[in-house]
């Protein structure tokens, strides 16, 4: 076994431990747990048996197994990036809605007036 394989397996195991930890703390729904476990298990499998990627490469018509891994990793990263940008955009809109609702309350009880029951900043 090459050093790079040992290194990658160690990292995958570390990532798996983080996944389980975050699941145990209740921060992760079961479907996410399954996706991440499958992902890192797949990584370990490919690292231990690199020839399998060559088989996939032949089936897909890509030159080398390592290239298949890079292409898939890039596609996955871009997908996750877009998901995150969308999520951030959603969050921005939600923050605006909350801030707006609070601001509109100023009309009912102007700040500083006797009716102003908002906590002081």
């Amino acid at each position: 076994m090459h050093k790079i394989q040992v290194l990658l397996i160690c990292f995958a195991l570390f990532a798996l431990s983080r996944v389980f930890l975050s699941f145990r703390r209740g921060g992760m729904p079961v479907p996410h747990l399954m996706v991440w476990v499958a992902f890192w298990a797949g990584v370990i499998f490919v690292v231990v048996q690199p020839e399998t990627t060559s088989t996939i490469a032949r089936v897909l018509g890509v030159g080398r197994g390592a290239d298949v891994v890079i292409y898939l990793a890039l596609a996955l990263l871009f997908y996750l990036l877009f998901r995150m940008l969308g999520k951030i955009e959603d969050l921005e809109r939600q923050i605006t809605r909350v801030v707006r609702a609070a601001a509109l309350r100023d009309l009912d009880a102007p700040p500083g007036s006797d009716d102003d029951k908002r906590p002081r900043a």
Binding site: F82, R93, I95, V99, R100, A102, L104, L107, P110
Partner: protein, 228 residues
Amino acid sequence: MGKNVIVIPAYNEETTVAQVVRDAVRSADVVLVVDDGSRDRTAELARDAGAVVVRHAVNRGLGGALGTGIAAALKLGADSIVTMDADGQHRAVDAGRVFERLAGGDIDFVIGSRMLRGQGDGEGKMPIRRVLFNGIGNLLTYMLFGVWVSDSQSGLRGLSRSAAEKIDLRTNGMEVSSEFIKEIRDRRWRVAEIPIPAIYTAYSMSKGQSFLVGVKTAAKLIIRRFIG
């Protein structure tokens, strides 16, 4: 006579907001300043000058502030709403002219255009760089939303109550200007453009859209058009 409300979004505008409000109260029944999370005395000075003030706890950007301003104006019972900038680049008399145009009842949306010739000619010309950026803004707005207006980025706009009730602003930043234009198309609004002078001072130049902000705004618009 309907109730006329001027909405002024303001972010750290303590140098100009008081004067802008004092002028504006002469052209409207209510002047409403949306303090968009300023860290200076914008809210206090606006209130002292005679404005109704609502405050954002944190800065949300021009689009967020305008959305809040329109919602607040409706809550105050506005029949016509005019938005104008807090940096002093719009004249209150022009806001008054927008109200007059809306009072006819045949128009849903009015744009105060710095690019049209007419009243106020010679009083203020846009710097050539601004004319160029504005042209790009108009072109981009046209390509993305299919509506041509002479000044898509103008901050002086008028909305009838029915238009204000229907509008659904989703963007938080500067790209809101083009979003108004998009609403024109989606809601088939009847639009009028009235010429206004562009008053550019060193102060308003420093507060306006820089080239970088323009690029960012354009990028956001394109992204929103295709995946938003």
